[in-house]
């Protein structure tokens, strides 16, 4: 009870978008919580309401023992009283102040100097923010926020303003810097890689509601419904029907194909079969022995290189996406229209209720 952020909030935006989100974050277990969801799901609005920058239509926010927002008791703390540090997407550094003045802007006692050194921003102390790169600006903004000793840190898409190379570098640093700060953090992102690498706990938001919360690994492994599965990046979310059981495995029918899978949620009925593209292996030799239960003959529809990986779209009687390394794709000389066999382990097929 004591170490939690709980809120349920309702807000109707002028665009007609309705947000109705309930969230409980166990702060003690989760130094970094990821608020994850596709663009336009309402993540930023929710974060701004928690910070006190946006007023909800109804709801409640409690942080530890404090009530931050409760209209039934006429409580609506100002952002200054909530002391939730907010890191804006473009960092919002004060352009008329130097890096040092930015960090010391609201610093408590010796905290500012300490953070200038700890964040390695001392060498740019005399510069104006516009002379810094995006990654450097982010460090300064984070140091500025932590120097005020916030009770909670809120980050809105902290990496989205960076280019791809800087993003990969900064992602690693950011986790370390967030853990070094005493305040628990809630971080908004729509990038699954960021969610997986930065977060301990995550909440998935789709269409203005929180669909699932839990440890990051659990959510990625077991999405609660088809929309969550799609938003956490399960490329293959297939309508399926449980048609039987065999040796403790469920048999599901997907179009014309039958798949075996572990952990059925229900004995019978319509479900979604979710398969991550990384879990699909390709082979030319359908007869080759293997421990994988599902062998699905099909044809290659397209091969798209994605950096070190290649995205292969297949037609196995139903559309199936496989992610393999670009090198494997080259070695196998995959061509469009070619027959191929997709191999999927029974444990890689995750069923969610329809």
């Amino acid at each position: 009870m004591a170490h939690e952020l709980t809120c349920w909030l309702r807000k109707r935006l002028p665009s007609g978008f309705e947000l109705d989100a309930g969230l409980r974050v166990p702060l003690a277990e989760s130094p970094v919580t990821v608020l994850f969801g596709p663009s336009g799901a309402g993540k930023t609005t929710l974060l701004r309401m928690i910070a006190g920058l946006e007023r909800p239509d109804a709801g409640e926010i409690r942080f530890r023992e404090e009530v931050w927002y409760d209209p039934t008791r006429a409580v609506n703390l100002a952002p200054q009283q909530r002391r939730a540090g907010f890191l804006f997407q473009d960092y919002a550094l004060f352009p008329h102040l130097t890096v040092e003045q930015n960090v010391l802007y609201a610093a408590r006692r010796g905290k500012g100097r300490e953070l200038l050194a700890a964040f390695g921003v001392e060498e740019w102390a005399g510069r104006k923010p516009r002379a810094l790169s995006g990654g450097q600006q982010q460090r300064v903004a984070l140091a500025r926020a932590l120097a005020a000793e916030p009770a909670l840190l809120l980050l809105d898409e902290p990496l989205s303003a960076l280019d791809a190379a800087a993003r990969a570098r900064t992602r690693h640093d950011l986790r370390r810097l967030l853990l070094s700060g005493a305040a628990p953090a809630i971080l908004v992102t729509h990038d699954r890689l960021e969610a997986m690498t930065l977060g301990d706990w995550m909440a998935v938001m789709v269409d203005g509601t929180i669909r699932q919360t839990g440890p990051v690994r659990d959510v990625f492994r077991r999405p609660a419904d088809a929309q969550v599965a799609e938003s956490v990046g399960m490329e293959n979310v297939l309508p399926a029907e449980i048609v039987g059981q065999e040796d403790g495995l469920a048999i599901v029918q997907v179009e014309t194909a039958r798949l075996q899978c572990a952990f059925p949620p229900a004995p019978r009925g319509p479900v979604w079969a979710c398969i991550r593209a990384e879990d699909v292996t390709l082979t030319r030799d359908a007869a080759q022995p293997s421990s994988a239960r599902n062998r699905l003959p099909g044809r290659v529809k397209s091969v798209t290189p994605e950096g070190p990986l290649a995205r292969v779209e297949l037609d196995c009687g139903f559309p199936l996406v496989a992610m393999i390394t670009a090198r494997s794709a080259a070695e196998m000389t995959l061509r469009e229209g070619e027959p191929i066999c997709a191999v999927v382990k029974a444990t890689a097929v995750h069923l969610v209720g329809g």
């Binding site: 920058l53 952002p79 200054q80 002391r83 907010f86 919002a92 352009p95 008329h96 516009r130 500025r144």
Partner: protein, 224 residues
């Protein structure tokens, strides 16, 4: 040259600008950030002196500060003096007359300050008043300086309002523009030309200096 009139105008312009800095900035802030729907009415009232003939404005000010009006009566009770045809009355009229010249550039500058910067400051625990002083004012400084310079220059040259409210009392209300008018009436063209050139030179220098300074301001703080 009528140095007494020039000195009076300079004093009047400086005092007007100072009062406007204190009085118009809160109005500008309110105009820039208030979500009120009837804001446009206040905007229209503030902008009125831009289009109203100075004689009309002067006429109403004269009525409003006359000894039988509440304002005039209060002033008489507090100071024992009267406002019409005095420097103080003239000052009051000038403040009203130059209000839009200070308010509008300042409001535009406040509105141009990225709201996220203010929110960032609030989330750092800094109060709204403190944020205004430490973030909004410095970032809006070019606009505020523009407003101050325009108010100063506008007051230096005002004529119609002075005539209505101040009259033509040497040392108390005879401003430089009234002095030029008098000189022309008396066919003293040489004296009028001298004073006019002086006024033209002052106005041009002040504006040129302001714009030069602003160029530096903007190049220091480009607001993308």
């Amino acid at each position: 040259m009528d140095w007494q009139a020039i000195w009076l105008s300079l004093r009047l312009a400086a005092a007007t600008t100072l009062i406007l800095l204190a009085a118009a900035l809160p109005i500008a802030y309110w105009l820039a950030f208030s979500p009120r729907r009837w804001k446009f009415l206040v905007q229209a009232v503030v902008a009125l002196p831009l289009v109203l003939p100075p004689t009309v404005l002067g006429f109403y000010v004269l009525l409003a500060i006359g000894p039988r009006s509440p304002v005039g009566a209060l002033y008489a009770r507090l100071t024992g003096g009267i406002l019409p045809f005095s420097f103080q009355g003239l000052l009051l009229a000038s403040v009203l007359y130059s209000l839009p010249f200070m308010t509008q550039p300042a409001a535009a500058a406040f509105a141009a300050v990225d709201r996220k910067l203010l929110e960032a400051s609030w989330c750092l625990g800094i109060s709204r008043a403190e944020t205004f002083r430490r973030v909004t004012i410095p970032l809006a400084l070019p606009g505020i300086v523009t407003g101050a310079v325009l108010s100063f220059a506008h007051t230096m040259g005002e004529f119609g309002v002075v005539l209505m409210v101040g009259g033509n009392i040497s040392g108390a209300t005879r401003t430089v523009s009234i002095s030029i008018y008098d000189q022309v009436q008396r066919l003293e063209y040489a004296a009028a030309a001298e004073t006019s050139v002086f006024l033209l030179a002052i106005s041009f220098s002040v504006l040129a200096l302001t714009y030069a300074l602003q160029r530096r301001f903007w190049s220091l703080w480009p607001m993308s």
